[in-house]
């Protein structure tokens, strides 16, 4: 009996223990479920994308953030490989690193690369990839964490761009100062030397040479004055201007034609305004000056053929939708060997033409303060020249 009652006690105790364990198990399960849910929540809501791929780089799982970053749905991503979503130029590097991970050279690596978003655009990311290996140390999967760094990249690119611009500006300035000092010194050397020649010729009582000496001194002093005036003019472009306004290209060109009317009439040159109507936006006086200098330049380099024509117009560059303005002549053209000197300050292509060589430097500066760029094309000597340029805010209106 005694033993029976003892057994019953034992069973009871066992039952209580089982009950206790069951409750404990239940609460552990709850905890686990809870933790799992929290983890899933964290996994999906973290600011970092997580992507798991198998050893063949096929995507096998990812969090919501990863889908957001790449713009693909979960289902779409599950059909893709790492190669599919990697920007072509970055595929070689991605391949190399992943295969070294696969063969156990390292367990983790991180680098910056570009993915292709669903819309086809590149996206800069910072990726950390870690290997998952089985007990035999075989590579079975990789887990990557992905951080969107496109805004940082954007700033970096902008910074690089502005650094490059600053460098160019600085080089331009250095060249400018050198040119100015050189070109202003040159007439001074002339003046000082010919004053000495003049004194010698006075002593020798050589009237004819005296006159020549004085002519050289005059010419050099005039040249200095002209250079100084033109430098001042160049430095004023874009500073203390009247506010920018809209003006129609044709009327601007007509005003410019007025200012070079003398040479155009004398050389019997025809000026045609062609193409669509264009509304320009900028400093009106400067735009007239721009066309005036281009017309003047074109007229200066005519070669005397019976039909001398300057054509000014515009067209739309279909590739970037930019309005391109142009001034074309059928004159002497530019020898390709001299192309790089065309816009240089005080560079003259021909010693026998008038002027100091500031015209096209002025043109370039005006285009630049209007946020545009200028270039030209000439098939060579005798084939004419076309100057092309853009100005911010110009629109074709018909």
């Amino acid at each position: 009996m005694q033993s029976n009652s003892r057994k019953a006690d034992q069973v009871l105790a066992l039952n209580r223990e089982i009950e206790l364990l069951r409750t404990e198990n239940e609460s552990l399960k709850n905890l686990l479920r809870n933790n799992e849910q929290r983890l899933q929540g964290i996994f999906n809501d973290v600011a970092i994308g997580v992507l798991e791929v198998d050893s063949n780089e096929r995507i096998i799982s990812m969090n919501d953030r990863c889908c957001q970053i790449l713009g693909f749905t979960r289902e779409e991503l599950l059909t893709k490989t790492i190669k599919d979503i990697t920007w072509p130029e970055d595929r070689a590097l991605s391949n190399d690193l992943n295969s070294r991970l696969h063969f156990g050279e390292f367990e983790t690596f991180n680098y910056e690369k570009r993915y292709i978003r669903k819309d086809g655009s590149p996206l800069w990311v910072h990726v950390t990839v870690s290997a998952v290996r089985n007990s035999k140390h075989e590579h079975i999967a990789s887990v990557g964490t992905i951080e969107d760094i496109s805004s940082r990249r954007l700033y970096m690119d902008a910074l690089k761009e502005s650094e490059k611009n600053l460098k160019t500006r600085n080089e331009e300035l250095t060249r400018f100062i050198y040119t100015v000092s050189h070109d202003l010194k040159s007439p001074l050397v002339t003046i000082k030397s010919f004053i000495n020649f003049l004194m010698e010729d006075i002593q020798k009582d050589d009237k004819q040479s005296q006159e020549r000496d004085i002519q050289y001194i005059h010419a050099a002093a005039d040249r200095m004055g002209k250079l100084l005036d033109e430098l001042l003019e160049l430095s004023r472009i874009g500073r203390k201007e009247k506010p920018k306004s809209k003006a129609e290209m044709g009327s601007i060109i007509n005003e410019a034609i007025e200012m070079v009317a003398g040479m155009i009439k004398e050389k019997n040159i025809r000026v045609n305004i062609t193409g669509p109507k264009v509304m320009l936006y900028g400093y009106t006086e400067r735009l007239i000056q721009l066309y005036q200098n281009l017309l003047d330049n074109a007229a200066k380099f005519m070669d005397g053929k019976p039909e001398q024509v300057i054509e000014a117009g515009a067209f739309k560059n279909e590739q970037n939708n930019e309005v391109v303005l142009f001034v074309r002549d059928n004159g002497k053209g530019i020898d390709p060997r001299h192309h790089h000197k065309i816009f240089g300050l005080f560079e003259k292509m021909d010693n026998n033409t008038e002027g100091t060589g500031i015209g096209l430097a002025l043109v370039k500066r005006i285009v630049e303060v209007h946020g545009g760029s200028i270039w030209f094309r000439s098939e060579g000597t005798g084939k004419g020249t076309t100057f092309y340029f853009t100005l911010d805010g110009s629109e074709i209106i018909n």
């Binding site: 050189h182 001074l188 050397v189 000082k192 000495n196 020898d335 000197k341």
Partner: protein
């Protein structure tokens, strides 16, 4: 050996490239005063200099356009500048040994470095003061015409 001759016994031929007519006259007047020049050929820009040296167009005839014994050249020239001319002649076997002197209006370190990179033989800067300019041209004449010895010309 007679002064002002090259080693072939012919008078020196000096190619002088200067675009500024006033500076050309200053230089020539000084050369005349010092009676140092046998044959100076004056050209006006870098393109003309290249055409001459490479016997293009009007310079085809070697009798009328002999290879110079010495080149005296401004740096800032229309069309093709002095450094480009220098680079081009240094790249050609038949011209690369011609002694070449730069006579520049202003001093610019980058230009000087470039010129020596292209093996310029001497780099001179025009002084502002006339007496100094005159002295420089006189010294130039003495050195390059009276004292310097040249290889046989072709």
């Amino acid at each position: 050996m007679t002064e002002g001759m090259n080693n072939g016994g012919d008078p020196l031929v000096i190619l002088f490239i200067e675009d500024d007519p006033a500076h050309a006259e200053i230089t020539m007047r000084n050369f005349k005063k010092n009676r140092i020049f046998n044959k100076v050929i004056h050209l006006w820009d870098g393109q003309q200099a290249l055409d001459y040296l490479f016997r293009q167009g009007e310079y085809e005839d070697p009798e009328k356009s002999p290879v110079p014994d010495l080149i005296l050249m401004d740096l800032r020239l229309p069309k093709v500048d002095g450094l480009e001319v220098l680079a081009k002649i240094r790249a050609v076997e038949s011209l690369k040994n011609i002694p070449t002197v730069i006579l520049s209006t202003s001093y610019n370190e980058a230009d000087v470095a470039k010129a020596y990179e292209y093996n310029v033989n001497s780099y001179l800067v025009k002084p502002l003061d006339y007496d100094k300019f005159s002295n420089l041209l006189e010294a130039f004449g003495f050195y390059w015409v009276n004292w310097n010895r040249y290889p046989h010309s072709n």
